[in-house]
Symmetry: C2
Subunit: 467 residues, 2 copies
């Protein structure tokens, strides 16, 4: 299908690139074949020769074709068979397991709708501040651009984190903070440090699906506690500690994933007391904290990093393209985690990434950006919540902040079936049981309100739930 | 000590910042104390008020002090005790273990000489190309700046790698390549995938020290094979396979670390045959390949990624500030490694880092940069080798490329003692036994010829070896 000549140039360039890719995929063009001349292909595609030049240059940079000086462009011998490309697209026949949402979301086809994914659309992120920071980085010292960072990561960024912790009454020193390659990798390092195969770990039901995937990789026994609108059910929590003696409890504080619930101060206090009685260590994943309208009771702040380990990252409010997480914990644990991160990764995050993050956080801009995000998300939660209700999908609760709505589907709907059906329409959903250790969330689904704005979505959802 | 009023402004700002830091460190200023007014402190320091304003603003950005509107600046409650900062400096009392060189090198004090470190100085790296790439990135699409990348990482960069593999006769498809957070993390993922605690792993003696650290984290049994100037000693290799049945052999091909030796084609062929007979998997770390004057026999190319896994990174020739590694392996293994990387890190490298790396590699500039590096290093190897010989330190062999010289110290020298003595002079060395599983390299030391150009080094070395 050819676009009108007045389509934007970027779109036309992409069309030309896709046309060449399709010919290689179908083997109409084989390895070492010469590509059509620029002039003739411009006529074929109804675009200007400069558009074809740009498209060929970009395909050459990708390695798909090669320029031979004076002779034109040729299909590279490393060009791809058609099936290989498909492998980066979502695999429809994959089991609906804890990897399902991550793989479908991360490798979504272009144009996919992603109400199931766990992050904001790129145009909600502070991209102008990021652009300024990259221009600034182009003027940085050689060492920033080319050297490894320190083993604990950028001191400037650690100090910024310390200042933020101090705002919630959590006083830490720089040797209590370690920057890591991502928030997930922060938890992974802690698990490697504290757990041995066969240990028991406690999570919420429902909980963030990747905790289940991660803990599977650690070959531990998973037990769970039902999550209520005010945190884990305390009586169950105490009972499971008593019966199972878990080594670790991993939870998302602030705005719980997937429910969006907030732990009450009374629950936090009792959870900490129960943990102390059983020598339980708690990992508090603070990843959604910046979305809260006002800070809620935090385990790390109550406990003072005694048996609580605080982790987080900047992926949800700043950029997911700059991978960086952090761990705040007892200094003697951090010292050992540093060795573990050197052994297993030769250090932490990209020094350029921490430089960019520190520079964006250091300006007043970030605070304003987060305030604006909160306002936008409050509107989106209300708006999307109402639309979902109209088609029979009921929010379990209306969260105080963030982008997650944990919803009950109409009676009789299996969310895994709905998610599979939606994928055929290029829609990535997050069915309830990927979050559930006890597989008791068949009738639930997590929606990301910032990814639900496309008018095609609600009609497609309605079809998928058979309404 | 006060500087003259005509000192550069930046220096005077730093002086003011240091004066405030010193008062906080000595507790002359405690948490929540008000700082001296701008006017009075300008008079105290003999600088202009604008210099004090700038210094206070920068300390506030670091989180050390805070502005209270209309009331002045106050010491932040997160302000640091003096000892905390010292913790990021090398710890002189640390054991000379496999972590010794990494920790000392990564956290070296400013001004340290680092002949023991495993990378090139920042001013040997293609920083101009990196600056151009960062300026280009400031104009990229929002998604590149703010979104997660695909689970296997940038397709453009994987294709560039495929084209490079094709040049050595190794044809791979895109689903056989996975980008990882670092070269070390690539090996770590493979170990998590293939090994269980108690398994046996074979390394060279000597081998890269961090293989020892990494394998310790995996709780496996280490066995080793003596390394000769043409690769592992083949008779010992066959014998240890027969006796110990290791699951994995990890080696650095191309220019072996630490010896700089090159595996001969005959050795490579026999190693692969022995591996096939015992169902041994081999990890070939290709990290120094770009330094070779011409490609040597490569296990992955001979084997075709059947039982060999190729890993590498861009830290040695492009930038260590952009963390990114890769794995090339059987497609079914890569598929499982993708899940493992999602579970333990929620994906791979920073998408912005892979964007920068792909854009620098796509230009002809990178090839010229590497050619220039090879010429510079050839001169440096010759020059540093001669200087070391003059003080009685003998290269074990003169490598074909790269920056490593594995050297024998004069009789009776213990390289750990020499390294400890040098650290007192702010010189980081790499003593032999950190590379040796059998602790048989007491008399050896690895030198990085690109980090040996400071005229203070040879006299200091001479003192340290007692000559």
């Amino acid at each position: 299908m050819q676009r009108p000549a007045n389509a934007p140039k970027a779109t036309r360039t992409t069309d030309v690139m896709n046309a060449i890719r399709a010919r290689i995929a179908s083997r109409a063009l084989a390895a070492d074949d010469r590509l059509p001349s620029i002039r003739s292909f411009a006529a074929t595609m109804g675009v200007s020769p400069s558009t074809v030049v740009e498209a060929y240059d970009r395909l050459a940079a990708e390695g798909l074709i090669r320029a031979r000086p004076g002779s034109g462009f040729y299909v590279s011998s490393a060009a791809l068979p058609p099936l290989s490309l498909a492998k980066d697209q979502p695999q429809h026949d994959r089991a609906v397991d804890p990897f399902w949402v991550s793989r479908q979301s991360l490798d979504a086809a272009s144009g996919a709708l992603k109400p199931g994914c766990g992050w904001l659309p790129a145009d909600w992120m502070p991209t102008e501040a990021l652009r300024r920071a990259f221009r600034g980085l182009a003027r940085a010292e050689d060492a920033v651009l080319a050297d490894y960072g320190a083993t604990r990561g950028s001191l400037a960024l650690r100090r910024t984190l310390m200042a933020r912790f101090a705002d919630e009454g959590l006083e830490v020193s720089p040797e209590q903070v370690l920057l890591t390659m991502s928030g997930t990798q922060a938890i992974d390092l802690i698990c490697r440090f504290l757990l041995r195969p066969g240990d028991t770990v406690l999570v919420d039901d429902p909980c963030y699906f990747n905790f289940r995937a991660l803990l599977r990789a650690h070959q531990v026994k998973l037990v769970s506690v039902p999550y209520t609108p005010s945190g884990p059910d305390v009586a169950s929590f105490e009972a499971v500690l008593d019966a199972e003696r878990p080594r670790l409890y991993i939870t998302v504080s602030g705005l719980h994933n997937p429910t969006g619930a907030t732990m009450s101060p009374q629950t936090a206090h009792r959870v900490l007391n129960a943990a102390a009685a059983c020598d339980l260590t708690i990992v508090e994943d603070d990843i959604f904290a910046d979305f809260e309208p006002e800070p809620s009771a935090r385990l790390a702040a109550l406990d003072g990093l005694n048996r609580v380990i605080r982790i987080g990252s900047f992926s949800k409010t700043l950029s997911a393209s700059l991978r960086c997480g952090f761990i705040a914990a007892r200094a003697d644990w951090i010292e050992q985690l540093v060795d573990l991160q050197v052994a297993t990764g030769f250090g932490g995050p990209c020094a350029v990434a921490t430089e960019i993050i520190a520079s964006v956080l250091a300006t007043g801009f970030y605070r304003k950006h987060v305030e604006e995000l909160r306002r936008r998300l409050a509107r989106a939660r209300r708006d999307v919540g109402e639309k979902l209700q109209r088609i029979g999908i009921e929010p379990w609760l209306m969260p105080r902040g963030g982008f997650q709505l944990w919803c009950r589907l109409p009676d009789g709907c299996d969310s895994a079936d709905v998610a599979r059906a939606a994928l055929a329409d290029n829609i990535v959903l997050a069915p309830g049981n990927v979050f559930s250790t006890t597989q008791s969330a068949t009738g639930f689904m997590r929606f990301n309100v910032a990814q639900c704005r496309d008018p095609k979505l609600m009609p497609a959802l309605q079809r998928a739930i058979g309404r």
